[in-house]
């Protein structure tokens, strides 16, 4: 599987570490979150058969974290973004 890094171009997926669903970026606010919010954040995941937004860490490269949109049934990758840019939007 090849991931098309937005800065570095096509890179082998062996250089990356999978970090889970991109929803993990939306961490509850520690000031206001309830125990239930933390439970949902820590344990509840969608399990889609189809496009899935997920975090891939470029451990063997520039160490940026990417948001990869991958079809879980075919492994087709339809989108790659830098997580830092998504987070700053």
């Amino acid at each position: 599987m090849i991931i098309n890094h937005p800065l570095l171009g096509p890179r082998d997926s062996a250089e990356f570490v999978y970090l889970g669903a991109a929803a993990l970026m939306d961490r509850p606010d520690p000031e206001t979150a309830s125990a239930e919010d933390w439970h949902d954040y820590a344990y509840l995941r969608d399990n889609p058969a189809g496009p899935h937004r997920e975090l891939w860490f470029h451990e063997g490269g520039d160490r940026s974290i990417l948001i990869v949109t991958r079809d879980t049934t075919t492994h087709e990758i339809t989108g790659v973004e830098l997580a830092r840019e998504v987070a700053s939007k």
Partner: protein
């Protein structure tokens, strides 16, 4: 006063040189290194400061640049590694920090890395066995991080197909050296 004997990363009193065929692997002990990471909101100012320090633009993703005093390569978004001759720039981190001020975090890296120059007409035969760098696009001035022998290393193309510089973790200098000369013997 302590009377300490300086040794290279491979433990010798002089830099190690190994040749296989017409390719030579040379340990380069006299490199001062510092990493520069721009702080959030100061990326533009930091890059401008680096441009004046280097005398050329701070390298873009996947690239290296060489100035009169310092050389630099890109290590990540808004992050660079700067290098200079150890003789005269032993205090590289303090020098760079005095330039970039609060726009960036600077970390001394000199003794964290072992540096090798791999030079010769058939280095691509060695590199394609060592790592997964896309050699067709690895023109002079490109730089990337890759895995060599399960070690995260930086590879810098100083003369495409003829010369690369390899920076690897110093604590694994012996393993990295072993990996490279084993591949040289195999590939050449």
């Amino acid at each position: 006063m302590h009377d300490l004997t300086p040794i290279t990363a491979l433990g010798g009193s002089a830099a190690r040189v190994d040749s296989v065929g017409d390719v030579t692997l040379t340990e380069v002990p006299d490199v001062a290194l510092a990493s520069v990471a721009a702080r959030r909101g100061h990326e533009g100012v930091c890059a401008q400061t680096l441009e004046s320090v280097l005398g050329t633009a701070a390298p873009s993703p996947g690239h290296a640049a060489e100035g009169a005093e310092y050389a630099a390569f890109w290590t990540g978004p808004d992050q660079w590694m700067l290098s200079a001759d150890f003789n005269g720039y032993e205090d590289i981190a303090a020098r760079i920090k005095s330039e970039v001020g609060d726009t960036a975090s600077v970390t001394e890296q000199t003794d964290a890395w072992v540096c090798f120059d791999l030079v010769g007409p058939h280095i691509n035969a060695v590199l394609e066995l060592l790592c997964n760098v896309d050699l067709a696009g690895f023109q002079t001035g490109r730089a990337t991080r890759t895995s060599i022998h399960h070690l995260g290393c930086y590879v810098i193309s100083t003369d495409a197909g003829q010369s690369v510089r390899i920076l690897g973790p110093r604590a694994s200098a012996g393993s990295l050296h072993h990996a490279i000369i084993t591949v040289m013997a195999s590939a050449l």
